[in-house]
Amino acid sequence: MSGSRANLIAAALILAGAALVVWAYSIAPTSRIESYDPIFWAGMVLVYLTVTWRALSGRHVPLWLAFLGLFAVLPKFWMSPNGPIYFDETAHFALLREVISTGHLFQSTPLLPIGKFYPGMESVAAAIHWLTGLSPWESALVLVAVAHCLLPVQVYYIARALPVRERWAVVAAVVYAANPSFMYEDVQFAYETVAILLMFTIVRIYTEALAAERSGGRTWRASLSTTLLIALMCVACVVTHHLTSLTGIGLLLVSAVTIGPMSGLLDRKGGARRLFVRYTPPLMLAGCFTLWVVFVAPGTWPYLFPHVSQPVQQVLKLVGIGHGTSNPLRTLFGHSVAPEYERIAAIAAPVLISLALLFAGLRWLRRHRSQTVFLWSFALAAVYLVTLPLTLLGGGAAGAHRTWASTFLGVGVLPAAVATLFALDKRKPWLRHTAVTVGVASLVVLLVGNVTAGMPVDYRFPGPYQFGSDTLSVTPETLRLDGWVRTHLGTASGVVTDRYTALSLTAHAAAITPLQVPGLPIAAIWYNRRPPEPSLMFGLQRQGDDYLAVDLRDGLHHPTESPLFVPGEPYQVREKDMTRLARWPWLHLLYASPNYRLYKIDFNRYYLWYPFHAEDE
């Protein structure tokens, strides 16, 4: 088949795949998941396989891979084409709006206090807005699309530099595009989306520099210019995201000790330049991160530490050493409404990866120990598999999840390891065809299973109202409240409310909505049997939080995904604690709808009222 004819067929298949995805999203709000989910996957699998076919044909490989990255933005785009919808995305969009309106970096939002110290992504989105005239949300979408389309391209070039043969580098990029974070996590307008591109670029430049060392002909000048470029990229990566910088340090260290040419861990026989090229980048990224955390973002450590300490404590408790009363284990697909085949794929995906690692690892140990090309892949795939059980711990799920976008790089190269170590290219045709069939089936299982494991259904598809969902709790009634707040109170008005109303008010009314933090126990307004204490009200007054918005459904339902205010809060708000607000004379009703009430807080009246009603229940 001629190249142009094949490209035409590919274009038709991709259009058909895109149409299926859009169709699935158009019927999702009013249908059961069993009806639209297979349509969605048919479209996605069609496009993934078509792009793989064309990329494997060997022409315009980076363009096809870039297209795959771009196409993977489509589901998230259809989820929320007009504005942010996820928690992190809403917080970062609030930061972007603040940067644009003030003209200064390091703005803050109560939804994500740590985001203040990592303004890299917002600065780029704001630059796109200022220089092109696109709206802030369009600028955010452009940045996300550009960053995401380059991810598979970087994976391809990293694999090529290891070195892996071209067709297996293509497979590595496509398998990487089936990682749990690729389709919904790394397409959000959130700092990881841009930081991961910067980090992969660092790894690409680094692995290419090591490859150049391998082939000889490098000069000190070339090595220094490469190191300078990596140093600048390290600064940008650190300024953009803390966790990606940390995983980047790990990735570079693994690369430094596994990618050839090596002569011992310190590579002493390689000479000073090779030692410099090998170890300077991880040291620079670690140095930049340390300096940033010490001098600019000291809050990073307290923010990240619980993600490490909690799983450790929970593991200790499981083995009978630690303390605590609650059961630290989460139930697999506890509240999920994902179809059965998705759950089976989610469990089968890590099993497939484990088998591939096991077979390739054993083969390497027995016959190819001198070949160090795949050590890098084995190490990263092993880290990925080790982090999987952590998702069963309540405190470990978020941290483990965030590492997958990096460690899946190693999983991407596993097919190349299996094919090379077992010399599949030289086997009989029937065996090769069987291997291709198994490979395609495995890719589909990885794609479906990883997306299922990586994101709950309400983060993937629109649907009917669902209490306690970041994405499905916004109704036309919520949007009317947002509109009223924006029109009558203006932007940047401080509104105390629960997590879900806060998300909507921040996204659509540009309100500032404080969350519960130490020293500001706003959940007390909902949960305490007695009226809020003056210390809380003084804190609210000092911050300019003049309004209180309540969703009456807080007293009727229990959120299943995330707490209304803080982990460990009471099971449900008492209904009479919701209705008592109407009787407090220091709350003036401004807006009422069937489910929402918006009050203006009269702080002076509260201070007069409280001494006589402190014991009220």
Binding site: P62, L105, I128, T132, G133, T201, S225, M233
Partner: protein, 148 residues
Amino acid sequence: MKIGGWHSRLYGACDPGLLALGAVLLICSPILPGLLRLAVLPALLLSPGYALMRLLGRDVEWRSAGIAVPVSIMLVILCSLALYVSSVRLDRLSLGPVLGAVTALFLAGSYSRQMRFSRSENPRRRAAVHASGHADDGVDVRERATSR
């Protein structure tokens, strides 16, 4: 390179003339009207990155767009930080001209580097041509220097 092929058109993205045009677009972005400002988007995402890569003597062919775009993003972040530290308000009046100036500076630096390289290479090349009796397969030394 195939003349007239799409490769050559894509190669144009990193042509020095287009990079200079990108720098001019960035500098002029505050005064560009309406939809014309959309032309600044490719300039913003490609020109600063390619210009720095030229300065550092890296590959500047179209395939390196995978590095040029992240490098441009990096430069936007660093320029924004520098403006913030200098207490300059970030907006299109400040950021566009600064990014354009940085791009122009990198381009000028890369030309200066290229000229120095040519000067140091020319005597050697002349000697080589004189010795072998023919040019080096028609490959322009300057082009080789910049695409290294």
